[in-house]
């Protein structure tokens, strides 16, 4: 059985020292191993941005696509081979700006995919512009007088889009991240995992210390029921989205693949491409 070592490769990430993405990468590797997966059973599909490079840093099949489209590619992979564990990953710009349309629809569609967003509230690879997650007043190269746009609340969007698994974590807490990603992989449907992953170079506001001060874990809520959509939404609003843990789970909704008529358990990629002469003649007869 594969261990966490098997999910490591010898590629040195080009992230800045101290970047939150290092721990996210480690958590994904640990989670894959503890679920009992082999590297070849995992496909990591990533977008563009600092965090988008993650697919090259994990020893598994990896596809680094175009900006904002990791989810469409990941869904295509899943439809082609539902036996694979498909993990989509990217940053908040990738998922909530250019790729927001796909995020909402992938959530609605509910394929058995895990989507990890490394949320640092800024554009890092392009050297410090505002993101949809930046707070009002946040000064960046593209908002020198401070952002005037409302920051997006991804958790609210996820829940209102019909998500069946919504979690949030913080890259300082590798044990929680690992446990959440493991649960996300095991969840039979679309799992949305937002991770606060500080940018140490360009975001001097939302720092590790800042997050530590502001976040509260769902375990601190006492009788919190994460199967209640209303409670989840209430707590997200009460904390202004600054909560961690598995916030909402719905295990009763079947995944997209299991609802498609005629869709088999066996990977589509392993099925025959050919049709019989008899079938062909029948198909052609429709046009007589």
């Amino acid at each position: 059985m594969a261990t966490v070592k098997d999910f490591r490769n010898n590629v040195k990430p080009n992230w800045c020292p101290g970047c939150g993405d290092f721990s996210v990468q480690a958590a994904i590797q640990r989670a894959c191993a503890s679920v009992g997966l082999e590297p070849e059973e995992v496909a990591v599909i990533s977008g563009i941005g600092c965090s988008g490079r993650i697919s090259g840093y994990i020893n598994a099949y990896g596809y680094h696509g175009v900006h904002g489209r990791s989810l469409p590619i990941a869904q295509g992979v899943k439809m082609a081979n539902r036996e694979l564990t498909v993990i989509a990953a990217g940053g908040d710009g990738d998922g909530f700006a250019i790729g927001m349309g796909h995020t909402v629809h992938a959530i609605r569609r509910n394929m058995d995919i895990t989507y990890i967003v490394m949320d640092n509230q800024i554009y890092g690879l392009t050297k410090g512009q505002t993101s949809p997650r930046s707070s009002v007043g946040f000064k960046t190269k593209s908002t020198p007088d401070g952002s005037v746009e409302t920051a997006l609340s991804p958790l609210e969007v996820a829940i209102s889009s019909g998500a069946t698994f919504v979690a949030q974590s913080f890259s300082s807490n590798i044990n929680q991240m690992t446990a959440i990603i493991e649960a996300a992989i095991r969840h039979k449907g679309f799992s949305f995992v937002n991770i606060f992953s500080p940018c140490v170079t360009f975001n001097k506001i939302n720092t590790y210390e800042w997050f530590k001060e502001h976040i509260v874990d769902v375990s601190e809520f006492g009788d919190y029921d994460n199967t209640s959509r209303i409670q989840a939404m209430t707590k997200i609003m009460e904390t202004e989205g600054m909560l961690t843990g598995i916030i909402y789970v719905n295990d009763s909704k079947p995944s997209y693949e299991s609802l498609v008529p005629g869709f088999k358990e066996e990977a589509l990629a392993k099925q025959s491409l050919e049709i019989s002469a008899e079938d062909f003649n029948k198909l052609v007869a429709d046009f007589r």
Binding site: E40, H64, V66, P72, G76, M79, A80, N81, F287
Partner: protein, 586 residues
């Protein structure tokens, strides 16, 4: 007896023009006639003039006719808009309800039949289209049982009572018109056909069927005119073969999903028209860079922007060939007949896997939507070739090494594995990369990788990159076209023959990589080259000039008003160009 005839039905959109046309042509097809249809419609659901024209012949035909023999009109607007198209002695069958008139004195025969009144007496005015078609069918004197069978198939799912009412409507319409005309019109009697029911389909049907036979099992797509029929066909048929269609949130999702599925080993395609293609361009570049096979269908319609969504045009050529930033290998195939739509769909999938690059299958609206008779499709030609896809067990990779997915090779095509295979782990990225897919900015590697990817096109072998009809060694004219225009050009050439102007004809089927070597000798041999195309800037002609040269003797015949060419238009333009000295052509 006549060997061919053109019939048109017109009215307001939503009035039954489509269903009437469907029944009428199904019956003619069953009788063994060759048919070629044209739909004039607008981008709306109800209201607005619409008409369908069918050309009926005892011999194969691939063009609409210049004129019209019978016009069936549900309203005066239909007459006003279309009567000029009727030939001398042509017939109008119109609803008596609106007291039809022919706007100016002409040699037309008008039969005013109470479509609506007869239908109302049967219970609902919905039957008026059957009264109308019964009347026009009776004038042709064709056997009624075949027609009634087609009516039964159209309305069978609504129950026997509805079928009977419709058949009754057909009978009453026929009786009424015969009482006016005194019998079937002697000059409208078609020669008997060969009696064999043929395939009768639109290009989009043929592409969808070809894709299915060619192993396509997944189609993510976003609805758009004139491409939607492809996804609508496949969603009906794919579940039986384990596959499916997903209606995505947009075309960007569609192409990326198709890329993901192909990467993971399933033959997947998407289909769209100009606006959707524009959205897909970045991802097509990704497929080129990552050498991921993918098939994209572009059914050209009037552009730019929303343009003329329901009209004929061929203006995407340059966008398809050059529409990506950077330089990628790409194959652009342009079928020119219904049958080619079928075979090319299969070939597109084979090429995309053999050369590991995006393949665009481009049609035009008339080819995609014009319903026409097709030759029998040959199952034996549905062979699947997956190129260098590795299917057996792979050798174990050494620690910290990856599968050489982009390994250099003589033909530039590398071995390919799909996720899930042990020993096949590699990276894929749109960033320039090395042989295992790791990002690399090394200058030497960059050059080698560019040469490898682009060099694949040097080896592309496509069945019939051009269709050639070249009887003459040094013809007065070489006429070049693509997609649906070949049939119309051939009719024009028949008339040029009579004028004593010799012509050869080439239809370009492979737009990229351009079949320069194949075309060049024919260009060189012709006194003049006339490129006929439905766009304003002569894109195909420019492609020819760019690749083959001879720009001094290449002339354009262009039409971009949204309507397909008629044979007489090409004929008269070619005649004019023939008279012009070569130096005045350009």
């Amino acid at each position: 007896m006549i060997s061919q005839l053109s019939w048109k039905i017109g009215g307001q959109q939503g009035e039954g023009v489509e269903s009437t046309d469907r029944i009428f042509s199904t019956a003619l097809n069953r009788l063994g006639y060759y048919l070629y249809g044209y739909r004039h419609f607008s981008s709306r659901i109800k209201g607005g003039h619409t008409n369908n024209k069918i050309r009926i012949s005892t011999k194969p035909i691939r063009a609409i006719s210049d004129d019209l023999d019978i016009l069936v009109a549900f309203d005066q607007e239909t007459i006003d808009l279309n009567y000029r198209e009727l030939r001398k002695g042509g017939v109008i069958v119109a609803d008596a309800k609106f007291s039809p008139t022919v706007p100016e004195p002409s040699e037309l025969r008008l039969f005013s039949v109470p479509f609506t009144q007869i239908a109302d007496e049967l219970g609902t005015s919905l039957y008026k289209n059957m009264v109308a078609s019964g009347a026009s069918w009776a004038l042709l004197g064709l056997p009624i049982d075949v027609f009634n069978k087609a009516v039964e198939e159209e309305y069978g799912r609504k129950g026997q009572a509805v079928v009977q009412k419709n058949i009754e409507a057909v009978r009453l319409g026929a009786e009424f018109v015969i009482s006016l005309a005194g019998g079937p019109l002697p000059d409208f009697q078609l020669e008997p056909s060969d009696g064999k029911a043929k395939l009768f389909m639109i290009g989009n049907d043929a592409i969808a069927l070809g894709a299915l036979a060619g192993g396509c099992r997944f189609m993510p797509a976003y609805p758009i005119t004139p491409a939607s029929e492809i996804m609508e066909y496949l969603i009906k048929k794919l579940p039986k073969y384990g596959g499916t269609v997903i209606q995505t949130e947009d075309e960007i999702a569609a192409i990326n999903m198709a890329i993901g599925a192909n990467y993971a080993g399933v033959r997947a395609m998407t289909a769209s028209a100009g606006p959707g293609l524009s959205l897909m361009v970045e991802a097509i570049g990704l497929a080129g860079m990552t050498e991921t096979p993918v098939v994209i269908v572009d059914t050209q319609r009037g552009g730019p922007s929303t343009g003329l969504p329901t009209k004929q045009e061929q203006s995407d050529i340059f966008a398809l060939i050059y529409g990506t930033h950077g330089e990628i290998p790409k194959i652009v195939l342009a079928p020119s007949t219904i049958e080619e739509c079928f075979y090319d769909a299969i070939e597109a999938f084979n090429l995309s896997e053999q050369y590991q690059c995006p393949v665009i299958l481009v049609t035009d609206l008339q080819l995609s939507l014009g319903k026409q008779t097709a030759e029998e499709l040959d199952f034996k030609r549905t062979k699947i070739n997956r190129g260098k896809l590795q299917t057996g067990e792979l050798p174990t990779l050494e620690e910290n090494s990856l599968f050489k997915r982009y390994g250099f090779s003589e033909d530039g095509v590398s071995q390919r594995v799909i996720p899930g295979e042990k020993g096949g782990i590699h990276h894929v990225t749109g960033v320039e990369h090395d042989e295992v897919g790791r990002p690399s900015e090394n200058a030497l590697n960059r050059q080698k990788m560019m040469d490898k990817r682009l060099g694949k096109l040097n080896h592309v072998k496509v069945t019939n990159p051009i269709v050639v009809d070249a009887l003459h060694k040094a013809p007065d004219l070489l006429i070049v076209d693509m997609n649906s225009l070949g049939g119309t050009v051939d009719e024009a050439r028949g008339r040029l023959d009579i004028d004593g102007i010799t012509s050869n004809h080439i239809t370009v089927r492979l737009l990229h990589p351009f079949p320069t070597a194949e075309i060049a000798p024919y260009i060189a041999a012709a006194k003049k080259v006339v490129v006929v195309e439905n766009n304003a800037t002569g894109q195909l002609a420019n492609l020819l000039k760019l690749n083959v040269g001879h720009s001094d003797k290449i002339a354009n015949v262009l039409k971009y008003d949204g309507n397909p060419f008629l044979p007489h238009e090409i004929h008269s333009k070619c005649k004019e160009l023939h008279k012009q000295p070569v130096k005045e052509l350009v």
